[in-house]
């Protein structure tokens, strides 16, 4: 019974993930081919239109094509989320590995900085930073990277600290490997699974952060078709044309759901059974 359920769940996840990946690939490649409309073309004669062949998702309060804006918003929101995530990993992981491996003063210094960031909730720090730096998607990205690298540094450090005492590290030293080679050859394989799982779960959180800060006006600025910003623009029409909020809302939900499922899937795939078996 139990195993049957698990198999079904895994299969459903796999189907969803593959479908979503195909969708992403299609949109990225064909966005410019399938889109017939300029995302910021304003036509006040065509405002708030319902679904039609011409405008499959209708038009918004300025007569802009909704489908075009949602799809380009995908590139914007997910694209920026991805960039922020990659940079946070690229900064955090090396910091954590070095701190964990070297220990001593370097370690204490890095980890106190990390603690300072962790003392505040992500959202609060991001709001304050992008508020201080001024509204705009670049500043928001900077704020997100500053908030997120800490998680990767801590994760990398704790893995490295657990592994560096093991005999195989001593053996690698006896076999003449330099510290950098030991980090790369012996410690990196331990990190990759953990990092991938955390990163795929984080992607959803970062996208939520971008959208919610854009919603309150601190991230992407109109007329950029960012989903959070679109939600904000659609607020006055919530009761008359709810579709304007439903489409970007659904888009956000789908992407965040995808990120969480991907995270779960990777966590099962990179399960630490190998070490548990010892």
């Amino acid at each position: 019974m139990k195993s049957g359920l698990t198999v079904n769940k895994t299969r459903a996840t796999k189907v969803f993930l593959s479908a979503f990946l195909i969708l992403i690939a299609t949109i990225t490649v064909y966005a410019f081919l399938i889109l017939k409309h300029d995302p910021s073309f304003v036509d006040l004669n065509e405002r708030l239109l319902p679904m039609s062949w011409q405008h499959p998702f209708g038009t918004d309060h300025l007569g802009r094509d909704m489908l075009t804006r949602i799809l380009l918003g995908f590139q914007l929101t997910v694209g920026y989320g991805f960039v922020a995530l990659l940079l946070a990993v690229a900064i955090g992981v090396p910091m954590g590995v070095i701190a964990g491996f070297k220990g001593g003063l370097v370690d204490r210094l890095l980890m106190r900085v990390a603690d300072a960031f962790l003392a505040f909730p992500d959202t609060v720090v991001a709001i304050v930073l992008s508020g201080l730096l001024g509204a705009g998607i670049e500043n928001l990205l900077f704020a997100i990277i500053l908030v997120k690298w800490v998680n990767y540094a801590r994760l990398a450090r704790s893995t490295v600290v657990a592994e560096r005492q093991k005999d195989y590290i001593t053996m690698a030293k006896i076999n003449g490997l330099s510290e950098w080679r030991i980090m790369w050859k012996h410690l990196f394989p331990h990190l990759i699974g953990h990092i991938l799982v955390l990163a795929s779960l984080d992607l959803g959180k970062i996208i939520l952060l971008i959208s919610s800060l854009s919603y309150i006006g601190l991230g992407a600025q109109p007329p950029a078709p960012e989903w959070g910003a679109m939600l904000n623009e659609a607020r006055p029409y919530f009761q008359t044309v709810p579709a304007l909020m439903i489409y970007p809302g659904l888009a956000i939900v789908t992407v965040v759901l995808f990120s969480n499922l991907l995270g779960d899937y990777l966590r099962d795939k990179f399960d630490v059974k190998k070490e548990v078996a010892e």
């Binding site: 003449g176 190998k274 070490e275």
Partner: protein, 254 residues
């Protein structure tokens, strides 16, 4: 010139609390010296000092007549392939994320280009890997497995194969049989004995187990609280003039 010579070696981790005091002994080529002592007597610290993983407080350790303790890690590196070790815990001496082949061939990949071996052909990595597996009586099929798929004894054989892969001058065996069951212990000891003859190796065999020590060693040193309290040839193990502590160990042995 002896292969390894320790003169008046002192080591402490905390001031005023010496772990090793006044250790003197020599080890000749193709000799096996056994060091026996209870847990916490400083055996493993001694092994770490000889392997150049710790700095000495005083005294010197000469390896082939050269003192290594004041050299930098970079200067020590060429000596490391001559100075190998097999550690106590086979589970942690192999990286669980690497295939057996990658763990086994680590020394060869590091030094391969510079070495010339007399007993093994090392034309290709694969050729050497198969000969090493053969030498420790394991199937070459295991090369593409992960450590968790092997038994403790098999893992320890891999560790031994890795240690002997570049025909080192000295192998420090730090409790190599202690975490294995009795039958596996016997077969590992037999293997080590055979390899020493086949490859002209020298061993420094450290253990708390007098039975294992005397199976392999010609010379036996008894350590207690960081000092060598007794030293003798294996044939004199049961002689009456032994130190009281040695006699105590021997009585446990019956």
């Amino acid at each position: 010139m002896p292969l390894l010579q320790l003169n008046n070696v002192q080591k402490s981790y905390q001031q005023g609390n010496p772990v090793l005091t006044d250790i003197n002994f020599t080890l000749d080529r193709q000799e096996c010296v056994g060091i026996v002592g209870e847990s916490g007597c400083g055996k493993s610290t001694l092994a770490r000092c000889i392997l150049q993983l710790e700095r000495l407080d005083q005294g010197e350790i000469l390896f082939e007549g050269t003192a290594l303790q004041n050299k930098t890690e970079r200067e020590i590196r060429p000596y490391r392939r001559q100075l190998q070790t097999v550690m106590q815990n086979p589970a942690s001496s192999l990286n669980p994320k690497l295939k057996i082949r990658d763990s086994l061939m680590e020394p060869f990949r590091q030094y391969g280009a510079q070495v010339s071996l007399t007993h093994f052909q090392h034309g290709s990595e694969e050729q050497l890997a198969r000969q090493l597996m053969d030498a420790v009586e394991l199937s070459p099929d295991l090369l593409s497995r992960y450590p968790h798929e092997l038994s403790g004894g098999q893992k320890q054989r891999i560790s031994i194969a890795r240690a002997i892969s570049l025909e080192p001058a000295l192998v420090v065996l730090d409790e190599p049989t202690s975490s294995l069951d009795v039958l596996t212990q016997m077969s590992i000891l037999k293997l080590l004995d055979h390899l020493r003859d086949a490859l002209d190796l020298s061993y420094l065999f450290i253990s708390h187990d007098l039975m294992a020590i005397q199976a392999l060693s010609q010379k036996i040193l008894v350590m207690k609280q960081g000092q060598i309290v007794d030293r003798f040839e294996k044939v004199d193990l049961f002689a009456d003039e032994r130190h009281p502590y040695t006699q105590q160990l021997v009585s446990l042995f019956d």
